[in-house]
């Protein structure tokens, strides 16, 4: 038995492992599957996955049906009760010995009308029914989910050592510009021009290197203020990495008074070094002139 040695997790090792895993598997015979695929392509069916009839789902369906019955009963009860004349009606407690029928003269009974407020909400029943039907329909055609055109910014994966935080983060909607920063530094609450702080992000420049960023917005535009922790990073590289994260290209780079002015997607940006660290302020949506951006940057504390 060969003795264990330390593994160096190289790219080649991962590649070999995947090749071994994907190419040595023994799938079911392909002929039958191809026939099903061919058949589906001809008929236009999209899904082979059938919904299983799970007991848990059945319980949910039953509960929904009961709720529907109860709501319906309450609605009918209220309708019949309040359709009676608007007068105080005492409901005597009847015992077995008491047999005092309520004497209601026919002339006192108003014609039954349906007050508007008592009409059963047409929204309730159909909505509940919609909730119920898909669960009962076991072999339904699966909804055509957009697996192909997938806007998969669906998980935010913050840099957190806490697994519980990771799990929570998976449920959050991601930002357009990066991932939510789970432990942001203190950002200014407002920038000149009524730009209010919106959210704090992490933008990954490399596998292990990220920039901290904050989004500010007002009615006219959205700004991204970015700070790098790296000390020996070239400003040009910083700008390139930053703009690449936004899936854009840098154009019109020029340096004025130790500040680099650039544009990305025809929107202005500024980058500078402060205490040996790079920072940038750029417009990511809306319209703002380079001059105004410069004024805002001057107001950064």
């Amino acid at each position: 038995m060969p003795k264990k040695r330390k593994i160096k997790l190289s790219d080649d090792l991962i590649r070999d492992a995947l090749e071994h895993d994907l190419e040595s598997v023994n799938p079911p015979p392909s002929e039958k599957m191809w026939q099903r695929i061919e058949g589906s392509l001809e008929t236009g069916r999209t899904s082979a996955v059938k919904r299983r009839f799970a007991p848990g789902r059945f319980a949910a369906v039953a509960a929904a049906a009961c709720l529907l019955l109860v709501l319906g009963s309450i609605g009918i009860f209220r309708f019949t009760e309040l359709a009676m004349p608007a007068r105080e009606v005492e409901m005597p407690i009847r015992t077995a010995d008491e047999a005092v029928p309520a004497e209601v003269e026919e002339k006192d009974v108003p014609e039954v009308t349906v007050p508007e407020e008592l009409e059963v909400d047409p929204g309730i029943e159909p909505a509940v029914r919609e909730e119920v039907e898909p669960e009962l329909d076991i072999a339904m055609e699966e909804k055509d989910e957009p697996e192909i055109e997938v806007a998969m910014e669906e998980e935010a994966e913050p840099e957190a050592d806490d697994p519980a935080k990771d799990e929570m983060a998976l449920m959050e909607a991601p930002s357009l510009y990066g991932e939510r920063d789970p432990s942001p530094p203190e950002w200014q609450s407002e920038l000149p021009g009524n730009f209010t702080f919106h959210e704090a992000l992490l933008m990954y420049a490399d596998e292990e290197q990220f920039y901290r960023a904050a989004v500010y917005s007002n009615e006219e535009a959205e700004l991204l203020w970015v700070k790098s922790d790296l000390e020996d990073e070239k400003l040009g590289y910083f700008i390139d990495q930053l703009v690449e994260q936004l899936n854009e290209h840098v154009r019109e780079l020029k340096e004025v008074d130790e500040t680099v002015h650039f544009t990305a997607a025809d929107r202005p940006g500024l980058a500078w070094r402060e205490e040996n660290h790079n920072q940038a302020l750029l417009v990511v949506s809306g319209h703002l002139s380079a001059e105004r951006l410069k004024d805002i940057a001057a107001g950064i504390e």
Binding site: A17, L18, E155
Partner: protein
């Protein structure tokens, strides 16, 4: 299959070409589905759905030569959605029977390498679906970060983040110490050495 041949089949887009693509990618597509779902029957259904969707939407594929990677994205997304819908994570691993002929006589070095590959393979299977997806796309299909980002419609930063976390999880799973982890970050065919040079200038 050569990229040119794949491109030709994708462009042709008829029943014969679909059959050829199916035969070429069936096994690995099934493997991706199985590694996420851990159930043979469901993996079979998901694989079938993936091929159907791929052939029905093949006109959306911008670079035909990337059909395999694109199909891997479809099948892994379908598998992930299935898991979410069924509210499952992972089942106990019923080991996929390997093909006959994978065992052979090894030299000691080859045997040790084989052990390492097996350990990494098992660790990779334990990755969460979204990490497994990017690892397959980078290391098996040799896509660059930008290509993965474009295919998954996420930012390059998110791809990098997932790759980083995947490698970190692998290292943790393999119980590697820091100095033996050696988490190289070349990946695919990207020239990351050049990037490091630029960074240090």
């Amino acid at each position: 299959m050569e990229p040119e041949k794949i491109l030709e089949l994708v462009k042709k887009n008829d029943s014969d070409s679909h059959r050829a693509l199916f035969e070429a990618y069936y096994k690995r597509t099934y493997a991706v589905a199985y590694n996420i779902l851990r159930q043979r029957e469901t993996a079979e259904d998901i694989t079938q759905d993936a091929f159907i969707k791929a052939f029905q939407n093949i006109h959306q594929l911008q670079d035909g030569s990337k059909f395999g990677a694109w199909l891997a994205v479809i099948v892994s997304n379908l598998a992930r959605n299935y898991l979410k819908r069924e509210k499952r994570i992972y089942y106990t691993d019923d080991e996929v029977p390997m093909q006959a002929g994978t065992e052979s006589n090894y030299t000691e070095e080859a045997a040790m390498r084989r052990l390492e590959v097996d350990r990494v393979r098992k660790a990779v299977r334990k990755l969460p679906a979204e990490h497994y997806q990017v690892v397959v796309l980078q290391y098996y299909y040799d896509l660059k970060v930008e290509e993965i980002a474009s295919m998954l419609k996420i930012s390059p930063g998110t791809v990098k983040s997932r790759l980083f976390r995947a490698r970190r999880k692998l290292a943790g799973e393999l119980e590697l110490e820091n100095d033996s982890a050696c988490l190289y970050n070349e990946g695919g065919k990207r020239d990351s050495a050049k990037k490091k040079e630029n960074k240090a200038e």
